[in-house]
Amino acid sequence: MFAEGNNSFVLIVAHGGEQFNQALPYLLVATALIVGVYVVLSITRPRSVEPKSKWSPWEWAVYAATLLSVGVLAATSFGAVLSVGVLNGWALLAHMVGAGMFVFVLPVLAITWCEPSRFDLRRYGQREQTGSQRFYWFPKLTFWLLLASGWVVAMTMLVSMIPWMGTDELESMLELHRWSGLLVVVAAALHVSGIVMQRFGKR
């Protein structure tokens, strides 16, 4: 279907595995720094504190399952890339297991958390608030980032499993999978930090 396709997008993302491997440690450090700075700012300069909300056990379970699957995926993939430069063997198998969990927990997360993460954008003439007040903007933003990048990261591999694409396109999908996977981890880390700060009453 796309086998003979060739466009600039393909050219940009293709054959970038080495770049990803080289950039990964710096990007992970950068993520940790951003989270750290955010936490420090939240602690030292607390703003208007949002009301604490009580989570149901179901919400806890879904969120925990999501974080667990993301953690497994990150540990197996980035761990392998950082230690031996390539994801294969048992690490790849564990990654596959984590992926299976992630694919099925993500829609549950989306259904459970989408409404609390709705932004407050009132329609024309509308006076009442439309968005949820449960979270402030930062967890909401990172939730949607997590959901969107999670969708991309899952779809890139699902699509690669069906015989639609040729080698270049599959390489592109893999590259897209790498970068979107990194984005999932970044989004999850930021989301957790936002949630935690809010739970501690710093935001």
Partner: protein, 673 residues
């Protein structure tokens, strides 16, 4: 000198003279045309004297002098097919060795002047270049060992590979035989009349210097150097006598009025020429009959061997593997499978019209774990690795009455092994030789010395093999009755069932093994006596080493020298629809998949009723538990795909819904402002 004169001279010195030198070019001729040059040329002998072909005492022509007048012979001699003895050159990727096979003693030793790991250097076994030529000259195009005595010793005074001085007797033989020079026509003849068989016959007669003229059909040769005594002096030969050097009679039909000879030369060798040395095909019960086998798909598409394996005048033939560095510095990245069919680093991917493979639905990880050849080349893996015949090992290309599948040396393929984490198909052989064990190290003995020592013990008839001799078991009626029972044993053998025939064959093999053990004990004892307490006599074969135990019986033990030697195969490339994995994931990712669980059984030169056998995954170094886990993960994968798409459909719908709502709300907010 005026100042401007000085400036002009300086300028001309800095610019003009080098330019003039460059303009002179080489002393060797080129046409730089894609057309072929008609080679009507004079012949020259090894002493650089022009030959009159009508002279009844004409000398054999020398390719080194005749062809070397216009072509750089010394440069050619450093090319891949001739430079194995140049120890200063990189050995390159290990390839097919020369296997010294002596069926009388159960010997098959992989040899290589390149010192590839797992092979033996002929010098280390006291196999001289003379011996090497007489053993393998059938598939050598001359040069290398054929000119070893003419090679200059290493400049630092230290002997290097192939610089061993021949013994006086061998030196006398070289003096009479002449050098076996590189015969350009061996590969570049466009004439089907060129006969490698004649070449080999001349070599066997020790008529080295006469072989090129005879093989090309330029001359008929009368006489055999092999028939002359070592101390024969050509100057003392009586005219017309029997003891004289071979007589060369040139074929007048190949000459023109000026006594120039026509050489039907082609620049790039024909595939049939390459195939003379590089034919390899499966044999045995599972093999497609030879007449029904396909050649490499590239040749079917109209390409030739030299399209992907070209060379310069230095004859540095491109071998075509990834990462190959060409001595000329020219990039050859696009001459590997991946470089040509995918995108090579030199931007030449797709040359010669190479189609870009689709590999639809194949996760890219496979391109990191598998070589192209793993799925596309050689015989497809089946339950057992299959016996293979190769031209270099089995002398294909020459008429023989015995090309049966068990012809020694035993080689099997495909054997999939990892190299730096990438899976490649290999051919594999198991060394077999008599050796000496000293301080834990086993050194093979010279095969001819072994034959001399053990001739009376092994008692192998001329033309027979040790395997045949030991396996010639005649079962008694009692033996048969013991296996089949009185009634079944008494009927005609042709009426036996398949199981009964197999049971009898197993008994024969067990008895042959028993006979071999007795023979082995006697042979090791004899060999040990000849050692005079200098080491322990051993026999290596079938993946094991054997020595005499304290009870005087042979005992098997493990040793590194018994390990098989394997080399990567590149051909024949199969069509896409015959590629491994073409039918889907389960072809490889399922229990029992031949690519991982095919059996590789050691081939011995002697009877072995319990041969070493390994699964492909063992030899490749894979983790079986991991393979099994992968296979399990593929159970229900189709269902997983459907469910996965459904799950992502839900996520996608939610994203889309909120995106639309958000966008609408955003614009609404703007309008409110």
């Amino acid at each position: 000198m005026k100042w401007y004169t000085f400036c002009l001279l300086s300028l001309s010195a800095s610019l003009g003279f080098p330019a003039a030198a460059a303009g002179q070019g080489s002393r060797f001729a080129v046409t730089n045309s894609r057309s072929e040059y008609a080679h009507w040329i004079d012949l020259y002998d090894a002493n650089n004297r022009r030959i009159d072909p009508t002279d009844p005492d004409a000398a054999p022509y020398s390719p080194r002098i005749t062809c070397g007048r216009c072509h750089d012979y010394e440069s050619m001699a450093s090319g891949h097919h001739f430079n194995a003895m140049h120890s200063s050159l990189p050995a390159g990727r290990p390839g097919e060795p020369w296997i010294w096979t002596d069926e009388r003693t159960g010997t098959q030793i992989p040899l290589s002047y390149r010192r590839w790991e797992g092979t033996y250097h002929p010098d280390d076994l006291d196999i001289s270049p003379w011996d090497f030529i007489l053993k393998f000259g059938r598939h050598l195009p001359g040069g290398g060992p054929g000119e070893a005595p003419a090679r200059k010793p290493a400049t630092d005074g230290e002997p290097s590979d192939g610089d061993q001085q021949p013994t006086p007797a061998v030196a006398d033989r070289w003096r009479l035989s002449g050098m076996l020079e590189i015969d350009c026509m061996f590969c570049h003849s466009n004439d089907l009349a060129y006969s490698p068989e004649t070449w080999w016959n001349q070599i066997r007669d020790q008529n080295f210097a006469w072989a090129p003229a005879a093989a090309a059909g330029l001359a008929s040769i009368e006489g055999r150097v092999a028939a002359l005594a070592d101390d024969f002096d050509p100057a003392d030969a009586a005219p017309g006598g029997r003891n004289r050097l071979p007589v060369t009679t040139y074929n007048s039909l190949r000459m023109n009025a000026d006594n120039k000879v026509f050489f039907d030369v082609v620049r790039t060798p024909d595939d049939r020429t390459c195939y003379y040395c590089h034919t390899a095909h499966t044999v045995g019960d599972h093999a497609v009959p030879f007449w029904n086998q396909d050649v490499d798909v590239h040749l079917r598409a109209g390409m030739s061997c030299s399209d992907c394996h070209p060379n310069d005048i230095g004859h540095h033939t491109v071998r075509g593997y990834e990462g190959e560095v060409h001595p000329t510095g020219e990039s050859v990245a696009s001459l590997s499978c991946r470089g040509c069919h995918m995108d090579s680093e030199d931007g030449m991917g797709g040359r010669m019209g190479a189609p870009k493979p689709l590999h639809g639905g194949l996760p890219p990880l496979h391109f990191e774990k598998l070589s192209c050849t793993a799925c596309h080349s050689g015989p497809a893996p089946i339950e057992d690795a299959q016996p293979v015949h190769t031209a270099m090992a089995h002398g294909l290309g020459l008429p023989s009455l015995d090309y049966t599948s068990d012809l020694e040396p035993g080689i099997v393929a495909p054997v999939l092994l990892q190299d730096e984490g990438v899976l490649y198909p290999h051919r594999m052989t198991w060394p077999a030789f008599w050796g000496r064990l000293v301080d834990g190290q086993i050194t093979p003995l010279n095969p001819d010395d072994v034959q001399e020592t053990l001739r009376r013990i092994l008692r192998v008839r001329r033309g027979a093999s040790l395997m045949e001799t030991v396996s010639a078991i005649k079962l008694t009626a009692e033996d048969k009755a013991g296996v089949l029972g009185e009634e079944r044993a008494s009927i005609d053998e042709e009426l036996w069932t398949q199981e009964e025939q197999e049971a009898i064959a197993a008994l024969e093999l067990a008895k042959a093994k028993q006979a071999w053990d007795e023979l082995l004990a006697a042979a090791l004892t004899t060999l040990q006596e000849s050692f005079e307490d200098d080491g322990v006599a051993v026999y290596v074969g079938g993946g094991r080493a054997y020595r005499l135990g304290e009870d005087g019986q042979p005992e098997a033990f493990e040793h590194a020298v018994a390990e098989p030697y394997a080399w990567k195969l590149g051909h024949d490339v199969r069509p896409t629809r015959f590629s491994t994995g073409i039918t889907g994931c389960y072809e490889c990712h399922a229990d029992g998949a031949p690519i991982f669980e095919g059996r590789v059984t050691a081939v011995a030169a002697v009877p072995d009723d319990q041969p070493l056998a390994h699964s492909m995954w063992e030899l490749a170094g894979y983790d079986k538990q991991l393979l099994d886990a992968w296979n399990q993960s593929f159970q229900g994968r189709t269902m997983f795909k459907y469910a996965g798409f459904a799950a992502m459909g839900i996520v996608g719908l939610i994203l889309l819904t909120y995106l639309i709502q958000g966008t609408y709300g955003l614009f609404a907010s703007f309008r409110r402002i």
